[in-house]
């Protein structure tokens, strides 16, 4: 019988975060469509914007983009917090 070491590192503590409050309706609300900058996501987001315009015209949609890939753009986040009611982030490869 052998006793051996565990080769894994130490994970950080997971700290729970509450989800953002939900809306009761999207009518008259501003929803940001956040383009995460993957190739062709701009085309996807434009199609999503058009879907909202066609099917839920009472919703204001605005497309937003961070300055840099893989960055938490504080300016973009502040703009969304200031005049947005909700945000949808996407999309992958």
């Amino acid at each position: 019988m052998l006793t051996v070491h565990d080769p894994r590192g130490y994970p950080p503590k997971v700290v729970g975060k509450r989800l953002a409050p939900r809306l009761s309706s999207l009518d008259g609300k501003t929803v940001y469509l956040v383009d995460c900058l993957f190739d062709n996501t701009d085309v996807f987001m434009e199609q999503l914007r058009q879907w909202f315009a066609q099917h839920l015209p009472a919703v204001n949609t605005r497309i937003a983009r961070p300055k840099e890939t893989w960055s938490d753009d504080a300016q973009m986040r502040a703009a969304i917090a200031a005049d947005g009611d909700a945000a949808i982030l996407g999309v992958g490869l």
Binding site: M1, N40, F44
Partner: protein, 422 residues
């Protein structure tokens, strides 16, 4: 919103962020290269995970009332034991493989005695924190100590005298097990006196399985990366589509004594007497050639034009090739690098028609960051330079049995002191 092949990764990331009930909706993979009509069909179609209409998932995510569990998320501690429960050698080998703690080759089991012997290779205490690693930019960092690095060094078959090199690599913050869909590997170049002290080999077969130090240091870097960062498991903590054979091991020392040029670490500001590891991130493409012969310029231009333009070239040149370039007037690496930068050309159309250039460089170009802004302004048919001189590197190594060179994708990510870990 994600594409469906990333479901496990999305769930794991949401859990690690304390929001396991984060609302997520999925469209089919891929989004890249799909037309606007295709993408509209995704939006109007089904979520391939839930089998419900995609937009219903999106709207429910925005509008469905929160439940109690959503209001405080999920907090919990995770621990890693120091030792594994005692068992037979065969059972432990199987356990390590099943837990994805290996590179799927047998490992040297990290017994207490072997780990203790490895720790003799450094003056640093076992409980000292070496650094943090993560598989990709949006995952959580895991932390690790000198002892944990020693455990992985033992598993790779490394000897205690190699341990300062392995600790230096672990301290770099660069994972050799990136989860990028591009299947990147790392390539490490070692410079300075340590090469000779631990009998690394820079001659015949330098990039092959012919030297114990070269081979096991590279393997240790891979194993420590996957185990100390929280895993490198396909479909969870590893998403490289093709994978990369260089991920098994890719370490070479520069043949400083046989090179006509300044060693890499001196180019980067270190003293010749410093021992240093330079970590290149890439391994995506490899081109090769001989020379320099009469048509070397044509060959080199073709090779440089054939790269994936987001991944910068690292040349490994046999000393015969390096001396041949000196005979042509390139008496420093910098002169040859300048020629390469001037001749690495591609039309702007082709340069920008690349998903990773679009993803990584276009935002910088739009923000006015040079040289990307000028590349974006160029006429589509204009030939543009695709690399800055600072992005191209040359290392001399090889056995002089042939005037051979290889150009491997490798962006220099870190140059770290080995002496700091003696």
């Amino acid at each position: 919103m994600h594409t469906h092949v990333f479901k496990r990764l999305c769930n794991a990331t949401a859990l690690a962020m304390g929001m396991p009930r984060l609302r997520q909706a999925y469209v089919p993979q891929p989004v890249v290269d799909r037309s606007a009509a295709d993408l509209r069909a995704y939006i109007e179609g089904q979520d391939p995970i839930s089998k419900r209409p995609f937009m219903q998932e999106v709207l429910d995510g925005l509008l469905s009332p929160l439940e109690d569990a959503d209001l405080h998320g999920l907090s919990f501690e995770r621990t890693t034991p120091r030792l594994v429960e005692a068992d037979t050698e065969d059972n432990l080998q199987r356990l390590f493989e099943q837990n994805c703690w290996t590179d799927m080759l047998p490992v040297v089991l990290p017994t207490e005695a072997r780990v203790e012997a490895m720790l003799e290779g450094t003056s640093h205490p076992p409980d000292k924190v070496v650094g943090r690693l993560r598989p990709t930019a949006f995952r959580e960092y895991w932390e690790f100590t000198v002892e944990k690095v020693a455990v992985n060094a033992v598993m790779a078959g490394a000897r205690p005298e190699y341990f300062p090199v392995i600790l230096a690599l672990a301290s770099s913050g660069i994972s050799a097990r990136s989860s990028s869909t591009n299947s990147f590997a790392t390539i490490t170049v070692v410079n300075g006196p340590i090469r000779k002290e631990i009998a690394m080999h820079d001659g015949i077969g330098v990039m092959g399985p012919y030297n114990h130090a070269n081979a096991t240091i590279g393997r240790a870097y891979g194993l420590l990366s996957q185990n100390l960062q929280g895993g490198s498991v396909p479909d969870d903590t590893y998403m490289g589509s093709l994978g990369n054979w260089l991920a098994y091991t890719a370490v070479l020392p520069e043949a400083e004594e046989r090179s006509p040029w300044q060693p890499l670490h001196v180019q980067k500001g270190f003293k010749p007497t410093d021992s240093v590891a330079s970590i290149f991130f890439g391994g995506w493409y490899t081109h090769a050639g001989y020379g320099p012969r009469a048509t070397w310029q044509e060959k080199m231009r073709r090779s440089l034009a054939a790269v994936e333009q987001y991944s910068q070239p690292l040349f490994v040149m046999d000393p015969i090739v390096a001396r041949g370039f000196v005979d042509l007037g390139f008496d420093t690496k910098e002169k040859l690098i300048a020629w390469c930068a001037d001749n690495a050309l591609m039309t702007a159309r082709e340069y920008w028609d690349n998903q990773w250039i679009q993803y990584l460089m276009r935002p910088r170009a739009v923000a006015g960051v040079e040289p990307y802004a000028s590349r974006l302004k160029a006429d589509p048919d204009q030939a543009i330079k695709i690399f800055e001189p600072s992005e191209i590197n040359i290392v001399v190594a090889g056995g002089e049995t042939q005037g051979a060179w290889k150009m491997i994708s490798g962006s220099l990510r870190a140059t770290v002191s080995i002496d700091a870990w003696r």
